[in-house]
Symmetry: C2
Subunit: 205 residues, 2 copies
């Protein structure tokens, strides 16, 4: 069974247990002839895939009533993968979603590493530092580099930890955030787990 | 006594109890002949003021050992104004500084409203919303506008409230942040209070 999670920059495939990526601007999905179950947040790819019969859009098979209309389908499928906990998906945006007894309990959107770094840089060139993920979160900083790292990371940390739930880290920057959430489970295939659950529920395979 | 706090966009004056602003790109400080006690974070204005004998730079009179070298002088003077508490200065950047028994306990830098709004917009046009300062901070959001507002405001709120200290709000956006920190004291002249303290300590007046 071939699964695919399509974002703005890549097609992320899972073939049984092996995952790999293809770039959206060079990969032609028509070259695949086998059945592919997918979700997609990329508007251009969506249009292309609509016309290919072997590509099956799983977003039609999920019960949407517990979510909200403009919520990214990748967030929804990550939520479907777990029963209880908070999912931090650290990508271009960083999304934080809460699931309690299998029900979506709301979530929020925070800038990803690159976007936040650019935000500080746009304020002033003196705030152009890389974030220090090894920062001591228990001490208010007394230097500029840590003052922006703390501003980005500790604020997020304080909010996430206040919910006192199991944490799941996914997305391209999951490993970097693991240093500030050391007890979180890193699972870069969380969305695929959600997809498999929906395939089973909908008897698609 | 005339005091002046000079930022990147304005000269902020306090004449006894009346405060007013002049724009940095149109105001000529040489037109004033009376003594002006000032602090300045604007590199261009700094150069101009150096040559004017009646403009007295107060940053030379503050005991710097408790602070750090690259810390903005405006943050330092706001800290000098209080004995205990957290100061949130909501401007282009939003700075959060902690003072305990008159000693600086560290601080962090967060993007101001406009910079953070731009950060979300840069990630995707679908995240181009104005922040909702009337947001319910006790509920994880289930719509996009609140999902970004919560990402910006609640993360900051969780971190600030975790210190359990008295809060002081200052800076151009102080009033907007008052809705998420309803118990904070709004004091737009906090920096001037710090300046007055230093003038007294240094016997300048």
């Amino acid at each position: 069974m071939l699964l695919c999670d399509i974002g703005n920059t890549s097609y992320h495939f899972l073939n049984d247990t092996k995952d790999y990526k293809e770039e959206t601007n060079s990969f032609n999905p028509a070259t695949l002839t086998e059945k592919v179950f997918y979700i997609c947040v990329n508007p251009h790819a969506k249009e292309v895939l609509k016309k290919l019969d072997n590509w099956v859009d799983l977003s039609w098979h999920v019960e949407m009533s517990g979510y909200y209309e403009t919520m990214g389908v990748d967030r929804i499928f990550a939520c479907e993968a777990i029963e209880n906990g908070i999912i931090i998906d650290a990508g271009t945006a960083l999304t934080v979603d809460l699931v309690k007894n299998g029900i979506f309990g709301g979530g929020f959107i925070y800038p990803g590493v690159r976007a936040m770094s650019q935000a500080y840089k746009n304020i002033s060139s003196v705030l152009d530092y890389s974030f220090n993920f090894e920062l001591d979160l228990d001490k208010m900083p007394k230097n500029s580099a840590d003052a922006i790292s703390y501003g980005y990371l500790k604020t997020l940390h304080s909010e996430v930890m206040s919910h006192d739930m199991e944490l799941f880290l996914t997305g391209g920057d999951a490993k970097r955030f693991a240093s500030i959430f050391p007890h979180a489970r890193i699972d870069e295939t969380l969305i695929f787990k959600g997809m498999k659950k929906i395939i089973k529920k909908a008897n698609l395979c």
